[in-house]
């Protein structure tokens, strides 16, 4: 009985069925589409957050736990908050009109959407064709062992192989921090 307990409390269960990652994937696509199409900006931001959460869960389901958790921490905790704050700080003057579901039919807006949709369909077609016929995508190696991502391995990699990108990212993040704070500062009327 003791080894059954060991079996159950360790993580050597049978690997989950492969199609399990489709659930967060479909949620992510639906939430992303909702984020693009909705009229109310805050609803768009919240659907975007849902899409990020689903993407993070998808990363975890694919075995990259660390990346999934970093995605949840950075995107959901920080970037979504940024977007929401920016929406609150830039109230559109036509907020009342945008909540009206029955706007008058605007030809230029409809043409805009149609041209945009056409370009996007072209790009989608090109990408799907590339995926279907590319040799790299077909030469996929099925993972024999579940590739577990150890944080220690990521740390080793960061400080040996990707040391220069790490320092570059540090400089870039500092510059972005200072730059964003400076850009968003209110100018004092002298």
């Amino acid at each position: 009985m003791h080894d059954l307990l060991q079996y159950l409390t360790s993580r050597h269960w049978e690997p989950a069925p492969e199609w399990l990652f489709l659930i967060p994937a479909l949620l992510m696509l639906a939430a992303g589409f909702a984020a693009v199409v909705l009229r109310n900006l805050i609803h768009c931001a919240l659907c975007l957050t849902l899409s990020f959460i689903a993407l993070g869960v998808l990363f975890i389901a694919l075995g990259a736990e660390f990346v999934g958790l970093v995605q949840l921490l950075v995107y959901v905790g920080a970037v979504s908050m940024l977007i929401v704050f920016a929406i609150l700080l830039t109230p559109a003057s036509e907020v009342a009109a945008s909540n009206n579901p029955f706007r008058s039919f605007n030809l230029s807006r409809a043409l805009n959407a149609a041209v945009g949709g056409f370009i996007v369909l072209l790009v989608l077609g090109g990408l799907l064709a590339a995926i279907a016929f590319s040799p790299h995508a077909q030469a996929a190696v099925l993972p024999t062992t579940a590739a577990t991502l150890k944080p220690a391995a990521i740390g080793q990699n960061l400080l040996t192989q990707t040391l220069l990108p790490l320092q570059g990212a540090a400089i870039l993040l500092t510059a972005a921090l200072v730059g964003a704070a400076l850009l968003a500062k209110e100018e004092k009327q002298s």
Binding site: L29, F59, Y75, L89, G116, V123, L124, A169, A176, A184
Partner: protein, 102 residues
């Protein structure tokens, strides 16, 4: 087969982001589209890492981590610019930012 399904999902997400960036007239929604496109790119990296011949090299994972950090920095700067533009022009409609026109 699994890899192709994952790549197709990532392509659809990329195109959803592209739709947002091309079609909506609010600058913040364009930024949301850019974030979706970056997320699709990250998904591609992780998908190729999972199905690669040497997953212990962690190439895709490192790329994804750096991409997440850079996307956050770029979102911060982009939103700061949008806030500053709103202060000047009182609008975030990208069609109205035409001071340099003509």
């Amino acid at each position: 087969m699994m890899l192709q399904i994952l790549l197709a999902i990532s392509a659809i997400l990329f195109c959803i982001g592209l739709l947002a960036a091309l079609t909506r007239s609010n600058a913040i929604l364009v930024l949301i589209g850019i974030e979706l496109m970056l997320g699709a790119g990250n998904l591609n990296f992780i998908a190729f890492w999972k199905f690669s011949a040497h997953p212990e090299l962690l190439t895709g994972v490192m790329f994804a981590i750096f991409s997440i950090a850079l996307a956050a920095a770029e979102a911060a700067v982009g939103l700061a610019i949008i806030i500053q533009v709103h202060r000047r022009l009182r609008t975030v409609n990208i069609n109205k930012a035409d001071q340099l026109k003509g």
